[in-house]
């Protein structure tokens, strides 16, 4: 049970981090750069 709760928290944390970096702090790819 303890392992399930810890794993659940890690998955939730990683998912939240993924959503926040992809949707809220975007590093948009420019067409070109030089």
């Amino acid at each position: 049970m303890k392992a399930m709760i810890l794993a659940g928290m890690i998955i939730l944390g990683l998912t939240t981090a993924f959503v926040s970096v992809s949707f809220f702090s975007q590093t948009v790819m420019a067409d070109n750069g030089n």
Partner: protein, 466 residues
């Protein structure tokens, strides 16, 4: 439907990002040229430095679509089309995952795929290929599940894909990998031979369909020619390798998938694992390919995950009873369509583009006001806008037109004065932070005509005096 509508609405909100592209200006101009000439170009149209060099508009259908949308509906039309295409891709992915992984699993897959697409969500032809990729791969996965080949009419999709965007080659590559999987997983040599024949026939139909473009074999081989342009592509942000700074979502996506797989022990059939590894390599080698990884992986691994869930969490994939009633479904779809309609109406009307770093509008206006004529040496990022405004740029986003040697010379700062002399340049336009701007400031025969946060224009004093 609801997921698709949400994707559409968020895309409309991201309008500044979606429209900030120099290639979009170029595509609109190329599309107008094709419509006006009733032909596709075979040389470097619009270019001042390479007007006669061979060049194929391999994404000609996307260019024509961009031109028609812009000329009839303005920037709002382009924005709505990008929203719709991404909504179709994520919506089709969700629909394909729901039967195997249930609503929660499908939603998880949709969010993960969407997150990997969003950093490359710019109004350019690759967006048109995203729904095609999902439909193509989903049909392959379904066909393999029932030990058949995809229906042959699916090959028609390949014709559309090949005329829209160069990523059609990935579609063919995956057909070949699925064919290898079918042969590899056959129980007997006879089954393997039969599977080999059937899949080869489908692959053959796909290749013929992909060659059905105005450029025929040249168009078919175009993606392979692009690989030879690797040195020039290294100068383009989207082709650079992924790092934690420029593509953090990819690293978190990988960490999440690794955690889930290693914790629960997901086992993939060998060829599926090869496909996922290939996609992972592509995403880390070129940051733009993260979107392919995001959209393809859920389709490829769904049955392996479903098998695992049926052992470890049997209730996970069963549909939520409360959501499964027709009245609830109708209400959700109605609300989703209503929201998308409101966003389309309010968010896509009278959209004004810019100011962005690809649109030196005030600088070009200053050049016009001063009556400067003659060849321009421009920042590559301004090439699209110059074409859009009727100028012939020195260079633009068409790496495939200019090639490694020309781009290397253009990029070399010590070649700047030689280029100015060789091409009898009358004016230059570069970004304020571009090192060439500082060099231009120190050249005796040149003076600043205009400067703002987007662009700095220098004019040749000798040419001005004439």
């Amino acid at each position: 439907m609801a997921v698709g509508a949400l994707v559409f609405c968020v895309t409309i909100l991201l309008r500044t990002q979606v429209l900030a592209s120099q290639d979009l200006y170029l595509h609109i101009s190329i599309g107008r040229w094709i419509l006006a000439n009733r032909a596709v170009p075979d040389h470097g149209i619009f270019s001042a430095s390479m007007p006669d060099a061979p060049w194929v508009a391999h994404e000609w259908l996307s260019s024509v679509g961009s031109a028609l949308l812009y000329d009839h509906y303005g920037w709002g039309g382009i924005l709505a089309a990008v929203g719709l295409l991404l909504a179709l891709a994520i919506g089709a992915l969700t629909l394909n995952i729901v039967p195997t992984l249930g609503p929660l699993g499908a939603l998880f897959a949709a969010v993960l795929a969407w997150g990997l697409c969003i950093n490359h969500l710019v109004a350019r032809p690759h967006v048109a290929s995203l729904p095609l990729l999902v439909i193509w791969l989903a049909a392959h996965v379904r066909a393999r599940q029932s030990n058949a080949v995809p229906p042959f009419y699916l090959a028609a999709l390949m014709t559309l894909w090949a005329n829209l965007h160069g990523s059609f080659m990935f579609g063919l590559l995956f057909t070949a990998l699925f064919a290898a999987e079918a042969v590899f997983e056959s129980a007997t040599a006879k089954d393997a031979a039969a599977a080999g024949w059937r899949w080869s026939a489908f692959l053959g139909a796909g290749i013929v369909a992909a060659a059905t473009t105005p450029y025929g074999l040249t168009g078919l081989l175009f993606p392979l020619r692009m690989m030879a342009l690797a040195p020039a592509l290294d100068t383009v942000h989207e082709w650079q390798p992924s790092t934690i700074a420029n593509n953090a979502p990819l690293f978190l996506w990988s960490a999440l998938l690794l955690f889930l797989a290693l914790w629960q022990g997901v086992r993939l059939p060998l060829f599926r694992l090869i496909m996922v590894m290939l996609l992972l390599y592509m995403a880390f080698a070129h940051r733009r390919h993260a979107e392919l990884l995001g959209l393809a992986t859920p389709l490829l691994v769904q049955f392996a995950i479903a098998g695992l869930l049926s052992r470890t969490a049997p209730g996970f994939t069963s549909p939520w009873a409360a959501l499964d009633r027709p009245a609830v479904k109708r209400s959700v779809v109605g609300l989703a369509l209503l929201a998308a309609g409101i966003f389309a109406f309010a968010g896509c009307r009278d959209v004004v583009r810019g100011p962005d770093s690809y649109t030196p509008a005030a600088a070009v206006a200053a050049v016009e006001a001063r009556g400067v004529h003659g060849p321009v040496l421009n920042a590559q990022n301004f090439g699209g806008y110059l074409v859009f405004r009727g100028y012939r740029p020195f260079i633009d986003g068409r790496i495939d037109l200019y090639g490694n040697e020309f781009i290397a010379r253009y990029m070399a700062l010590d070649q700047l004065t030689a280029l100015l002399a060789q091409y009898r340049v009358a004016w230059t336009i570069f970004e304020p932070a571009n090192p060439r701007t500082a060099v231009m400031d120190n050249l005796p025969a040149w003076s600043r005509l205009y400067a703002d946060d987007t662009a700095v224009v220098h004019i040749n004093n000798d040419i001005e005096q004439r």
